[in-house]
Symmetry: C2
Subunit: 453 residues, 2 copies
Amino acid sequence: MSQLSEFLSNNQNKNVEELKELLRIPSISSLSEHKEDVQKAASWILNKLKQIGMEHVEIIQTKGHPIIYADLIHQENAPTVLVYGHYDVQPVDPVNLWETPPFEPTIRDEKIFARGATDDKGQMFLHIKAVETLLELNGKLPVNIKFCIEGEEEIGSPNLPHFLTKSKEKLSCDVVVISDSDMWDKGIPAITYSLRGLCSLEVSLKTANSDLHSGMYGGGVQNANHLLVQLLSTLHDSNGKVNVEHFYDEVMVLTEFEKEQIKALGFDEEKLKKSLGLTDLVGGEKNHPYSERISSRPTLEINGLWGGFQGEGTKTVIPNEAHAKITCRLVNNQDPKKIQELVKKHLDEHAPKGCTVKVSVGDVGNPFLTPIDSPMIQKAAEAYKKVYEKSPVYKREGGSIPIVSDFSQILNVPVVLMGFGLPDENLHAPNEHFHLENFDKGILTICAFLELI
Amino acid sequence: MSQLSEFLSNNQNKNVEELKELLRIPSISSLSEHKEDVQKAASWILNKLKQIGMEHVEIIQTKGHPIIYADLIHQENAPTVLVYGHYDVQPVDPVNLWETPPFEPTIRDEKIFARGATDDKGQMFLHIKAVETLLELNGKLPVNIKFCIEGEEEIGSPNLPHFLTKSKEKLSCDVVVISDSDMWDKGIPAITYSLRGLCSLEVSLKTANSDLHSGMYGGGVQNANHLLVQLLSTLHDSNGKVNVEHFYDEVMVLTEFEKEQIKALGFDEEKLKKSLGLTDLVGGEKNHPYSERISSRPTLEINGLWGGFQGEGTKTVIPNEAHAKITCRLVNNQDPKKIQELVKKHLDEHAPKGCTVKVSVGDVGNPFLTPIDSPMIQKAAEAYKKVYEKSPVYKREGGSIPIVSDFSQILNVPVVLMGFGLPDENLHAPNEHFHLENFDKGILTICAFLELI
């Protein structure tokens, strides 16, 4: 057993007790009655960072909940690592489904149960412990380190991008490390190296100045529902490809290595179909396998659709307006604003005769990708391998975490998503928990990463 | 001035006063607090029919409001005419928009203002007066006559079809005459000789067993909105024709005379476009003119459409269900139930892969047509010409009045819609009224018709 392992093993009890202190604070960012608890959690982090020897520790107030900054910069020729995490948590409803109260951390079966145990207090705390451990053992760190811990992740980080832009200098670094994601499975680490971006649009189609009676006008005047169906039916071709000109122009195609990685993960189509209650998985592009489609290919989804009468029975109305809500999931190097414009242009150009089509653009979020072969990803992989004795799986996630691409784009550095959660740890749900095995191994892996880079 | 005209002229005051009595009774069939008023109106009619000399006068109770029957059958070799009308009226809201109270009949500018003045107390009363007049002048009628006056027309005649079927024998006749429709314009009579029928359907399309997150599944699984759009887009071809096999098989095409009639009526496209706020009138079949499309051609309209998220902002959901409500307007000789089945079959057969499509069938109503050249229509035209000194316009209405086709189909006789209302008499609206000119001319026309057949 290495000196590090031994040290951690001796301190496990103390470390877990400290995490419990933090987990006891109900820092639910979305509920105003917990505003003080959120502040309390921020103060707890602040003190902890001071206590382990971090410098320039400060609380930055925002329009919402505060951000905590700290650094320790003494290694002139070593790289600088910025750790991002969050100390706020999701609400706990339905609280009656919790086996033990959400803010009374309890250990059962080598897992610690509490709201925030895995998302993200537990995972974020690993970095604090790694720094403390290295400082206690060596009196110094092998790198320079900065912490940026926020309290609004669960409400969409409304104030963080502004802080990043404003504090670009202060946050400058060589890599951002975030532990707020999953491993592949028990004992199998994973690095999420790509996230999809997003853009949204809304279409409103109008015909006459009011709804019309189908007895008087039926067959004579245009029906907004018909025209919307006609318009929306142009958005995909018969192979499931998005039929918008230049939509795929900037799409980065998968490397052979990535395709092999995806194949090697062994997707169980039958199991998925059964759990979703589907006989076929026929969304998206026919000429791409399912696992690629949900992670590495862009999409255009009609999330909402409505026009005319939705009540009980029959109403012989010719609706004069119909609407659709659309979002696209995007991949590198698609520019969400550009894609929004392309989709808008398509809808405008395909507007059927006899109506006006108004397209409004909504949210955007950049896709994110740190190439697998980038040095920082490779160091993280090495660190995982050292501790878990297994190479990590390289994952592309189909979802969007805009803040990750914000870090990557604003600070212009690679971001390493080094997750220690497990997929079944009930994040955002009752009985959230974190496996203690990954508490110790997480600290070890982070220490190894800091020593390797 | 004929003897008849002179008689009516002498009695106008008395006749209008009698109508006022009936108009004072607030017989609103849809409001339960007026149940007794509806009964009161029925009694009033009953007494009036007795008073003018009708026989076998009876009130037939139903599950709702009563039907009144009466007859006078003494002309062995003459035809029998069945008069249908209704004594119930629409509600009066918004009552503050009435210039004089709805149940205080008032004469202004040669019009009588009251709820029910034109729809249908006023028009129905013309037939009672015509019979009374002929009996007073001649001591007998030139025909046999039956009355069937109901009190539930404004709530969709829920009990009348059953009564018609049950009383087929009792109601047997050579022609049904109904005065519950419009003239073409002031001084220009009209005969509505065709109404469209109706059938309705609802489509529910389902994919997975729940809504899915587009981050995790987007591009992988089918989206119910996409599949519904795809399915609905098959219902019409690019020329606006309904794309359902055999849909048009039984459609009776317009005769050259009918086409000329429609053309001669001189439809003002620019005026209509302006009033509807449309730049084009592009609903329905491209190769038929507007006036034909809204009156003489069948349609398929998507009255309602919905799936997924309709709230504010963005929700990255892949909806697992989507719905549409459909009605078809039908023309002779389309069978509504058969068309329903054809549309259902089309939807089932075109169900996209990866979903289940459930089609449920709703209301049906038969189309109605009495050919222009049928003897009864021609006699009615002659009667109009005699009184108004103008040939009537032959109109096809695009709407549906199921009870008209019920009379036609159950009793298997021609139905003559001999209207004396004017299009701007505010039926169903505040300040409903009836032109007194058409009160006298209406009685004269009905007398002429009874003498001609």
